[in-house]
Symmetry: C2
Subunit: 332 residues, 2 copies
């Protein structure tokens, strides 16, 4: 059921098999599998994750390539609920390992917040990442194009950028190297630092060698209309014409709630085994939060793997079910 | 384009980046990614693979749980074609490793067959498995229920069998152990050997302990109507009432075409690394043919991984694309 402020108490004494932090595609896939394995789970979703912003999900088999990410999320949420999963809109503040169980403290509601604590045997960290975007005075101007033709994922949308005039928006000198992968799709690349990046002599020379202009003047706003970005206006009033763009400014990892637990990390990513198990035997990580390729298809498969591994363990620890009957009666 | 007997010559001199053996969900996902990575691929599909038989695909996020497998296959095929993939209905007879390339010999057409040879830099083995079914005199009687409520995959459909009278159809004594996992979903299990399995004293005792009847009389036919199996009639005329069934008779692996190549196997499965690469650096395996969990979501993710690894390698071996222009002209 969908939990809300008024119904929180109904589950406060329930021990879930699994609490899933994050209701993106990885978490939802795990929930569908867990419920179908006849286990109980609670999904805690803060809202507006990475796939929520995708306007066209172009490489997930089975869905038309113009399917918005939020449609997939809605389908998964509805299906998980129909299978008996619990779903709560809230922000996981802290996870405590109590030995046999986890205590998961959730902040519910932005005003007059409540802080219920839920318990589970296993935890799936599916809270993902969110891409950093250029910080302009008018952020609405950025949101107007981000996820449309201002992309954040080259694997997802490189094809859409093919041979187009492309702006590459970077937040560090290292990120400029993205240009030398992006040129597989288009060589018409202009690099924008928004005035925030120190670029060394070697990188400047490399960009010159490749013919990729470097624009260091800060950006005033994106130009365009109806979600179709057509260029950039700089603070000095000059403009750069573009047909598409790629933001490569790093990501924010939603992993703060795990900081009290000793886990193996690689940067912001959790290190996992082939079944998505972290270095903690009862914590799994799926999707963008774990090491690997950040794609919807991978997150969905991760959910399958984590749920399957958890089921296997809970099943093996449970008493076997016998058929209490007179054997002879079975064949009639 | 869709290749057929008449159009085979159009591609006979083309060197594909990748030939994908098998147009199931893993192969199609790989094709979509490869084409979107601006690589060229040919899918060779023999027809009627495992997911073709699935009547309801209940745990693949994004699709309604009553989606037939063949709908997903059709969508993937249409989309891959629209992205420029080639698709051929045929049976891969042999793959030869020529050093830099593979020569893939395909049998096209059941009558007046042609045997064209196609070449590629990489190979993706996506030919999967097919589940063995009980061999009855009237196989049509088996097909009437297989994939409906006579299931072949416990992970997929265990939930549908919950607490139902369930027939477990085995092809070996080892497969009887499936009962002791299946009992997570239902304890009302009757085991059928179809008269083909020698069952030892220890297993007989275990079945008795659990209360699971063992039926060794051969099966005459499945009972039921409109794809709803309701029991089994044995050759002695007696009947056993059932509400669902699980076939656990092993699988046939479509891997004969690889036998000339030295690869690392585990049973019928190819051993792969985390990107689905086999022990041969230019052969990848995806889906049920590789070791792992046999699920649609996994095969789709495998396609993503294999395509991404191949793209990375081809990209790195290619000349970089520069923007040939006067730099100053870029900022207008």
């Amino acid at each position: 059921m969908k939990l809300a402020k008024k119904t929180l108490n109904e589950r406060s004494s329930h021990l879930y098999d699994v609490i899933i932090v994050g209701g993106g595609v990885g978490g939802l896939s795990a929930a569908v599998y867990l419920q179908r394995y006849r286990l109980s789970c609670l999904i805690v979703e803060k809202g507006r994750g990475r796939s929520f912003w995708m306007q066209d999900l172009r490489n997930y088999l089975g869905l038309p390539p113009d399917t918005p990410g939020r449609e997939l999320l809605q389908q998964g949420q509805d299906y998980a609920l129909s299978l008996g999963a619990d779903y709560l809109r809230g922000y996981v503040e802290e996870v405590q390992d109590e030995g046999e169980t986890f205590a998961v403290k959730v902040k519910v509601g932005k005003q007059d917040s409540l802080y219920p604590v839920f318990r589970s045997k296993y935890l799936i960290a599916a809270s993902g990442i969110i891409d950093n975007l250029p910080q302009l005075e008018e952020m609405q101007n950025v949101y107007e194009y981000a996820g449309y033709n201002l992309h954040v994922c080259m694997i997802c949308d490189g094809y859409e950028m093919s041979d187009k005039l492309c702006g590459l928006f970077v937040g560090s000198e290292a990120a400029i190297n993205t240009a030398f992968v992006l040129n597989w799709f288009t060589p018409y690349i202009t690099v924008f630092t928004h005035g925030k990046v120190e670029v060394g002599a070697e990188m400047r020379q490399k960009l010159r060698d490749y013919g990729y202009p470097l624009v260091e003047t800060p950006i005033r706003r994106f130009l365009g209309h109806k979600h179709e970005m057509s260029g950039v206006e700089l603070v000095d009033g000059s403009t750069v014409k573009l047909e598409t763009g790629l933001v490569a400014m790093g990501s924010h990892y939603y992993n703060e709630y795990l900081k009290a637990i000793d886990l193996q990390w690689k940067g912001g990513n959790l290190v996992t085994d082939s079944m998505c198990r972290t270095s903690h035997p009862r914590i799994f990580a799926v999707g963008d939060l774990k090491e690997g390729v950040n794609q919807v298809s991978i997150a969905v498969a991760d959910g399958t793997l984590a749920a399957t591994a958890i089921w296997k363990e809970i099943r093996r620890a449970s008493a076997p079910r016998r058929w209490e009957q007179n054997l002879i009666g079975a064949v009639s």
